[in-house]
């Protein structure tokens, strides 16, 4: 009974192509959890990385069940959905799990991708049975009695969720996208209201809550778009140093730095990794830089 994590897209903000960054990869965020049951498919987010994976899966006529967890609805996390081949196979069932916001339900935004005049493939070919499940922060659920999913609201626009997945002894947490919560930088829906009049306490609660959330995971994938030197907290992203601090406090085994900035070359991602490597070793944490195509074990 094992679960592994495959990195389908590790680029933040937008997919990008430039020769100097193809080593780590240019496809935007998408992850796959691979279980020993080959009929069970679990994905997190539908960046462009999902489109390429869907191409490989789509050819298969086998009837399959797909589960897709969505962290939030920024373009880089959802633009691959209309190109996900399994959606066009009538034998498939695809369940989406996402939070709704006061602005919109996920279902509305998903179908918004298929707007006439904008969708480059003929509308109406979506033939799979699609279901939309509303999930919220701190509301755990289980997929097919197999994978337990815990959620946590991150400091990013809308209701952005971190997901922690547990299957037997294997576990991982996906933390993308998330900004430092200091000095009134409250980006998530409802956060400003919750913090009103008690900012210091709120920030402490958030940080401690995130540490507790991560403590259950063997491997954590964390948004490390910025470096300390160029950090713009209100953009909604974090840095390697902060990711490491959370993981160290949580006692995590492995940290994978992800959401690489589209401007970052392979060399710059190497530097990003090196910037925390020594400290990570000190803290007994294995630190890696997310590379498209990598497949990670999630147990000791």
């Amino acid at each position: 009974m094992s679960m592994k994590l495959r990195l389908l897209g590790v680029r933040g903000s937008r997919p990008t192509h430039k020769r100097h960054l193809l080593g780590y990869g240019g496809n935007s965020t998408s992850f796959e959890l691979v279980l020993d049951d080959e009929k069970f498919h679990l994905f997190i987010d539908g960046g462009s990385g999902l489109a390429a994976r869907g191409h490989a899966l789509g050819e298969s006529p086998k009837k399959s069940r797909f589960h897709v967890l969505v962290t939030h609805t920024h373009w880089d996390h959802i633009l691959g959905f209309p190109f996900f081949q399994p959606l066009y196979n009538p034998k498939n069932s695809i369940s989406f799990y996402a939070s709704n916001t006061t602005r919109s339900t996920f279902k509305e935004l998903f179908f918004g991708l298929q707007r006439r005049g904008n969708l480059p493939v003929p509308v109406g070919r979506l033939k799979a049975k699609v279901a939309f499940n509303s999930v919220g922060p701190g509301e755990p659920f289980t997929l097919e009695n197999k994978v337990k999913v815990d959620t946590f609201q991150l400091n990013h626009q809308g209701v952005t969720l971190a997901y922690r997945l547990t299957y037997g002894n294997d576990s991982c947490a996906i933390v993308t996208d998330n900004a430092p919560i200091e000095r009134g930088n409250y980006l998530g829906e409802g956060m400003r209201e919750a913090a009103a009049g008690r900012e210091e306490e709120f920030e402490k609660e958030f940080n401690e809550g995130l540490v507790r959330f991560l403590a259950g995971a063997h491997t954590v994938v964390f948004d490390t778009h910025f470096r300390e030197a160029n950090l713009k907290p209100d953009w909604g992203h974090s840095t390697p140093a902060r990711a490491l601090a959370f993981c160290r406090d949580a006692g995590v085994s492995r940290l994978i730095l992800s959401h690489h900035a589209p401007e970052d070359s392979d060399e710059q991602v190497d530097d990003k990794l090196q910037s925390v490597f020594h400290d990570a070793c000190h803290g007994g944490i294995e630190v890696e830089a997310a590379r498209e195509g990598d497949l990670w074990d999630l147990s000791a």
Binding site: P15, H17, L22, G26, A52, N118, P122
Partner: protein, 294 residues
């Protein structure tokens, strides 16, 4: 000596396809820069436009230039518009963005505004971005800074009949470039009219998404097979044809094999063509020289 040319910032149709196997021809969705003197002109803003946007930052930040950028849209499918919120000059109030399309400006705004919607992005709307944005409805040919820009409707397939898509022809100082994308070059009056529109162009940019076998399964979806594109190229007499809108599955090796296969077909022997590569400049002057050399 002329000065007209093009540079592709994205050559990939439908969805970004960056991977080592697409390093040569590119993985960004389409954006074509028209090069003419020192003007900044783009046709479409797929994700490729973000890369030219990044390059322009030095001019904005260090040289403090106030940039005027002209963007022409062929249509509003995601792959042809999705890069606009990531085009960095739009974050600066020193930038003027002139946006042109052959439809009502309300229609243009509606289709671009969604990219900046607060549910999909950290923004609000196109018009609340820092740059000064001017929307223009094209009506007939446009004279712009020494260029003459005209347009013509393409055949965007029977599956997608509700939105018009346009080809553009740019002429300057006796040189010309015609761009035909998201067009299905099957036997139709629209195709005949387009061939006339593009006739005599020095450079022809043409949609060549499918192989012949793929096209059989994709009839009516608004894209051309490579053979259809080259048949059009032959009829227009272009000095150099650049095939673009590469299918997401198409690797560099596949494009190279396709090129070899096309050159073995006798009627395509006289057609000088290439599959468009990202970040390469294709100048009319050079195409003319090569063409004269035979």
């Amino acid at each position: 000596m002329g000065s007209l040319g093009v540079k592709f910032w994205g050559t990939r149709g439908l969805v970004s396809s960056p991977r080592p196997e697409t390093a040569i021809f590119g993985g960004n969705t389409p954006s074509v820069q028209v090069l003419y003197r020192d003007h900044l002109v783009l046709i479409d803003t797929g994700f490729g436009c973000a890369n030219i946007g990044d390059e322009l930052m030095a001019r904005i930040l260090q040289r403090r230039e106030r940039l005027t950028i002209h963007i022409f849209y062929t249509h509003f499918h995601w792959d042809h518009v999705q890069g606009l919120p990531f085009f960095k000059p739009i974050y600066f109030d020193s930038t003027t963005l002139n946006i042109y399309a052959p439809c009502a400006t309300e229609h243009t705004l509606q289709n671009l505004d969604i990219l900046f919607d607060g549910s999909y992005s950290p923004f609000e709307s196109l018009m609340t971005m820092q740059a000064k944005v001017n929307l223009h409805q094209l009506s007939g040919a446009l004279e712009l800074d020494g260029m003459r820009i005209s347009y013509q409707a393409v055949d965007h397939g029977i599956s997608l009949p509700h939105e018009d898509c346009y080809a553009y022809r740019i002429e300057a100082e006796g040189e010309s470039v015609t761009l035909i994308t998201d067009h299905e070059a099957r036997n139709s009056q629209k195709n005949k009219d387009l061939v006339d529109f593009a006739a005599g162009s020095d450079l022809l940019i043409h949609d060549g998404q499918y192989t012949a076998e793929e096209y059989l399964k994709r009839k009516g979806e608004g894209h051309s097979s490579v053979e259809q594109a080259l048949d059009n190229a032959r009829k227009t007499g272009a000095k150099l044809t650049l095939l673009t809108h590469h299918d997401p599955s198409r690797n560099d090796k596949d494009l190279q094999a396709l090129h070899r296969a096309m050159m073995r077909i006798p009627r395509f022997r006289p057609v000088r063509f290439e599959f468009a590569r990202e970040e390469i400049v294709y100048a009319v002057a050079r195409a003319k020289t090569l063409s004269e050399a035979g």
